[in-house]
Amino acid sequence: DQQVKQNSPSLSVQEGRISILNCDYTNSMFDYFLWYKKYPAEGPTFLISISSIKDKNEDGRFTVFLNKSAKHLSLHIVPSQPGDSAVYFCAAKLNGNKLVFGAGTILRVKS
């Protein structure tokens, strides 16, 4: 039962352009959402988060949008840089800080 889905396994973007990574969820009990970034041979690192009571959160080049009615969130990276090339995981939180992760999207930023 995949409660968090990232339907695009990979995304390729030109340097300087916008990267948009998407995530859908099914459980309406999720109250907090996070994006993690993972480089090869490293563990995931926290990138940005959003509470379910908000629809947007911004941190520098990274913005996360939440559409609760559609059970959809997206991560926008503007402008994209080659160093952003990594696997991006969407995660949703249940009670007790339990995270449910999506399968990840591989982002490649071409210079």
Partner: protein, 115 residues
């Protein structure tokens, strides 16, 4: 600040053998998590500790997996006996406490291959 330390980095075993992974969380972090990440999937929580007590082990296959966190610091995760489907990266994570919306800090993981 030192990050979450895990060892070994890689492990190759044959099915039905035993294996153990070790994790040292960030100093002072009360909450420790073990996640299993199978290739092509996202990390899945196996067990969560608060100090040396288990908070959630609902997804831990208890017939073959065991974990402990003695003295509320280091933790070990053991698989006995291993199956082919246990091939995965085992990630350890920690957070300061179990407060709501606390972000997790992950180690680099142990990549297990079961042949």
């Amino acid at each position: 600040e030192a990050g979450v330390a895990q060892s070994p980095r890689y492990k190759i075993i044959e099915k039905r053998q035993s294996v153990a992974f070790w994790c040292n969380p960030i100093s002072g972090h009360a909450t420790l998590y073990w996640y299993q990440q199978i290739l092509g999937q996202g990390p899945k929580l196996l067990i969560q500790f608060q100090n040396n007590g288990v908070v959630d082990d609902s997804q831990l296959p208890k017939d073959r997996f065991s974990a402990e966190r003695l003295k509320g610091v280091d933790s070990t995760l053991k698989i006995q006996p291993a199956k082919l489907e246990d091939s995965a990266v085992y990630l350890c994570a920690s957070s300061p406490r179990i407060r709501e919306n606390e972000k997790l800090f992950f180690g680099s993981g142990t990549q297990l291959s079961v042949l």
